[in-house]
Amino acid sequence: MSILVVDDSEDVRLLIKTFLNSAGYKDILLADSALEALALLDIPCEGLKSAPSKKKNLDVDIILLDVVMPEMDGIEFCRIVKASEQHKDIPIVMTTAIDESKLLEVAFDSGAIDYLSKPLNKIELLARVRSILKLKKETDQRKARELELVELNRALFSANERLKELSSLDGLTGISNRRGFDERLEEEWNRGRRSVTPLSLILLDIDFFKFYNDTYGHLAGDECLISVANSFKKTLHRPADSLARYGGEEFAVILPETNEEGALKIAEDLRKAAESMGLQHETSKVADHVTVSLGTATMIPSEGSAPSDLIDAADKALYRAKEEGRNRVKAALQQEENT
């Protein structure tokens, strides 16, 4: 803790230092001019050529400042300190002769917190310094607490964001889960309604996945789900396309601003991607490797329809893909999309 005394009178500097020392304040800095004080605080200022002190940028807790000084007066100095982001909270007490009281208003306007009249009275000086230092300490503690709270808030916010992210992710595959899918579909539905653009959805199933699990075990089943999800991630290139794990072995892909033709093409790409993994599936009835069946549906979202209509239509198309022999893509029929 240090106290900076700025006064052009050596008598006053010595007197204040001695009074403060007698009360146990040991770290007293003296400056005989406002410019020297600015240099001590390391505040840049016009006309300040070189810093007279090597000890710079000090941690000052209070400044006792003479109002009337040659070159730069206390008022100007006070304004400069109060304009410095780093130093603006240092309390400044003006010291002034009784007949300079008209300057007090200007002094307070410039940012001084209090004043002491000259000739100085020891008891008054020490009482004033003590109470201001106490106030400064409390202010510093409050500021530190506020800073701590801001930090905590930030941490809480990012933890919440992360939690939100995690709550919409599938733990096994790392892609969106059903919750994430529902939110995203709702968003894209509304966007499509505003922009009057088609929204497509692909629903797909791993063929005979129950048999896969029965044959290779659940751990292998999980591995298969991860591999399929990864191959789909690699296949989907457009940033707006959104892949999700819809159910056990069921996946969904939301395709904004995509018509039926586009959806069919992407669905076919996904089918090929799954097949080209060449993941052995000896109990599948359609191939000796893992395959998928896909249904697509496309709608222009409107007032009279809902996202669930799109899901139903894609689900019906998926059902037909399975019915017609699996390992294929089927688009929803017009009447499926209209119901």
Partner: protein, 103 residues
């Protein structure tokens, strides 16, 4: 004030170490004022009076503050006669002071 008469001034014992410097500075003030009377630099004299006014009482020498006030005023009025009178007064006063330190 008689020449032999001593003036007892009670001063805070904490100030013991800086009182000699205070007197040195007052003697320097006397020299400086005298030199500036010759030069007619009343602004410098006014400033010295002003500083004396602000410092004296703080050390316990209220009368030095009063002399400071008088010198400041006389300098403002360019009243050389009054300045000389108060300089003499200060000079005599400094010689008569006997400091008693209050523990």
């Amino acid at each position: 004030m008689g020449k032999e008469e001593k003036i007892i001034v009670h001063v805070d014992a904490d100030l013991k170490s800086i009182i000699p410097r205070f007197f040195e500075l007052r003697c320097a003030d006397l020299d400086l004022i005298n030199r500036n009377i010759e030069k007619g630099d009343y602004e410098t004299i006014r400033r010295i009076g002003h500083s004396m006014k602000g410092a004296g009482g703080g050390y316990g020498f209220d009368y030095i503050s009063e002399i400071g006030v008088a010198i400041e005023l006389a300098a403002k009025e360019h009243n050389t006669e009054d300045i000389r009178r108060w300089v003499d007064e200060l000079s005599v006063y400094l010689k008569k002071i006997e400091v008693l330190y209050d523990e």
